[in-house]
């Protein structure tokens, strides 16, 4: 708790000392993707559900907002102020989570992974093919985000602090929820679903609700990413970005929600500096090697390394 608050204070002060590029394009972006990844680590750590639907649920929020808000190009519905569009988008992402949870309610392990991947690819291809609602291949541009205190969202500080505040609140929400009966039952499902039923709980209901909450979290991240990119395209919710969320989560470690942000930061650093380090086109090779290295050295990610280091000290 104390460590979390200290970290939050440090992250709040940090933009005063670093260039705006680092504030928005490295840290801000890492936090936004970290939120999407935390949606996965929440499901995986506490429920034992490894899903590939996180990018899709974030994309649902992004697309809904893009369709609704004023000034987006092309204007499909338009005219809905951000104050209304953002909650609607988050509601849609939550609903998509509930729907995915309901569809996948009986699957586990590799089958859950495949079914969520299939749904994610289905949504990606649909967005790419549909002109009327998604503007097909080109996607929707000029989704600039709301103004905060009279400053545009693309201002590095506005984006950074919006991302940081969202992440802190969602992080606290996750840590709170897992201590409630709902969260305890979720962990019960991970450890022993049969016992959960025998104790009188409707296991499927809890599972679906967990996916709904994951949808909400991913939706928050998806909106931030959409505003950061000033728009959304089918490419941004394709196979690559879908798998990247899993890669980030595994790099960071699935043992604790904070792992999502560690993984996202490492990923973003490589994404940004791969060109300087080696060659722009070799980004995937580089990330792949780093991924391999981390997973081979520590199957439970960077978190696992940290855990063993503190254990060795004691």
């Amino acid at each position: 708790m104390l460590a979390s608050l200290a970290l939050l204070a440090a992250l709040t002060a940090l933009p005063l000392f670093i260039p705006p590029f680092w504030t928005a394009n490295i840290l801000g972006r890492a936090i936004a993707y970290g939120i999407v990844a935390m949606s996965l680590t929440f499901l995986a750590t506490y429920g034992g559900f490894v899903s590939l639907a996180q990018t899709m649920m974030g994309g649902v929020a992004g697309y809904v907002a893009a369709v609704l808000v004023p000034d987006s190009l092309p204007s499909l519905v338009g005219g809905v102020p951000y104050a209304a569009a953002v909650p609607i988008a988050l509601l849609a992402a939550t609903a998509s989570g509930l729907l995915i949870g309901a569809i996948a309610v009986r699957t586990q392990g590799i089958y859950l992974l495949m079914i969520t991947l299939a749904l994610a690819m289905g949504f990606h291809l649909f967005a790419q093919a549909n002109i009327a609602w998604f503007n097909g291949y080109e996607g929707i541009r000029n989704v600039v985000g709301p103004e905060v205190l009279g400053r545009p969202f693309r201002d590095p500080f506005v984006f950074y602090y919006a991302a940081l505040a969202s992440a802190a609140l969602l992080y606290a929400l996750v840590l709170y929820v897992v201590r409630t009966p709902f969260g305890l039952v979720l962990q019960g499902l991970r450890d022993n679903a049969r016992r959960v039923n025998a104790l009188g709980y409707h296991a499927a209901l809890h599972r679906i609700a967990a996916f709904g909450l994951a949808g909400f979290i991913a939706g928050c991240g998806g909106l931030l990413v959409t505003f950061y990119n000033i728009g959304i395209t089918p490419g941004s919710i394709g196979l690559g970005p879908t798998v990247n969320v899993l890669v980030m989560s595994v790099i960071g470690g699935l043992g604790h929600p904070i792992g999502a942000f560690i993984g996202a930061l490492i990923f973003t650093l490589f994404d940004t500096f791969a060109a300087d380090l080696y060659d722009r086109d070799r980004f995937n090779t580089l990330v792949g090697l780093v991924f391999l290295l981390i997973v081979l050295a520590s199957p439970d990610g960077v978190l696992g390394v940290a855990k063993r280091a503190t254990a060795a000290e004691d």
Partner: protein
């Protein structure tokens, strides 16, 4: 209270099985079992390995649907009800191979168990002080008070068995089903468990699977002996002990393990 046919007209039996059977492919794990357990009765189910005792439990608690017959709990036909529905009607059970929540503490295991039987079990509010107190009381009952904060994965086999019983008791069951609670317990732990079982409220209906007659017979009011999925003999413990059929079944298995 114990023994004899239950008074059917005035008060329905705690548990009534009517020709209940369960097939797994060609194997009839349980074949047409009929029995009635009166309220407050303590019934032991004996039989060699593979007799269908645990399958019978799974049919009663709803983990399996019977392929034939009816399951009636407290006068209500629950044949088509799912496990959580039956749990809400007062069925608590333990599992032979301890199905616990390994990643949670002993206290949280019990809190989950306590909340499961109550309305408002689907909750985003922190467990109440009353829930925590109930968990502490249960831990006391099964002598795990000193381990409330311990992660379940770190418990010994005997402690896991104790927690199993605690979790089954948490819903304040009307029908408590214990699947080999004494299995694998040390000679010190065994009498402790028997003491715990004897101290259970008399109003509670108890269904007990036991391999070991020395554990089952002193506790039971009535005994049902199963073999090959069917009921072989049913009667009072003293009669069962002398029954030639039972002795033949248990010969070679030894009386105690």
């Amino acid at each position: 209270m114990a023994g004899g046919p239950p008074p059917i007209e005035t008060e329905p039996a705690a548990l009534r099985l009517e020709g209940v059977g369960r097939r797994f492919g060609a194997l009839a794990a349980v074949a047409g079992v009929s029995l009635a357990v009166a309220r407050g009765e303590r019934r032991a189910v004996l039989g060699p390995n593979g007799a269908g005792k645990t399958t019978l439990f799974n049919l009663v608690c709803g983990d399996f649907r019977p392929t034939s017959g009816r399951v009636v709990l407290f006068g209500e036909d629950v044949t088509r009800l799912k496990p959580h529905g039956r749990a809400r009607r007062g069925v608590g059970r333990t599992y032979q191979n301890s199905l616990l929540f390994n990643g949670l503490s002993v206290a949280d295991n019990l809190v989950v168990a306590v909340r499961g039987a109550k309305p408002g079990r689907f909750s985003f509010r922190l467990p109440s002080a009353a829930d925590r107190a109930a968990a502490r009381r249960l831990a006391e009952t099964v002598r795990l008070s000193h381990l409330l904060g311990a992660e379940v994965a770190s418990l010994s086999h005997g402690q896991r068995r104790q927690l199993e019983v605690g979790m089954a008791l948490a819903c304040d069951p009307r029908l408590l089903m214990l699947d080999e609670p004494a299995a694998g317990l040390s000679p010190v732990e065994r009498p402790e468990l028997m003491k715990l079982l004897r101290a259970l409220p008399r109003a509670l209906t108890l269904l007990l699977i036991e391999h070991d007659m020395d554990v089952a017979l002193p506790i039971a009011d009535m005994v049902t002996v199963m073999k090959d999925g069917a009921v072989v003999v049913e009667g009072r413990p003293d009669r069962i002990e002398r029954d030639p059929v039972v002795q033949r079944i248990y010969l070679g298995h030894g009386r105690a393990h």
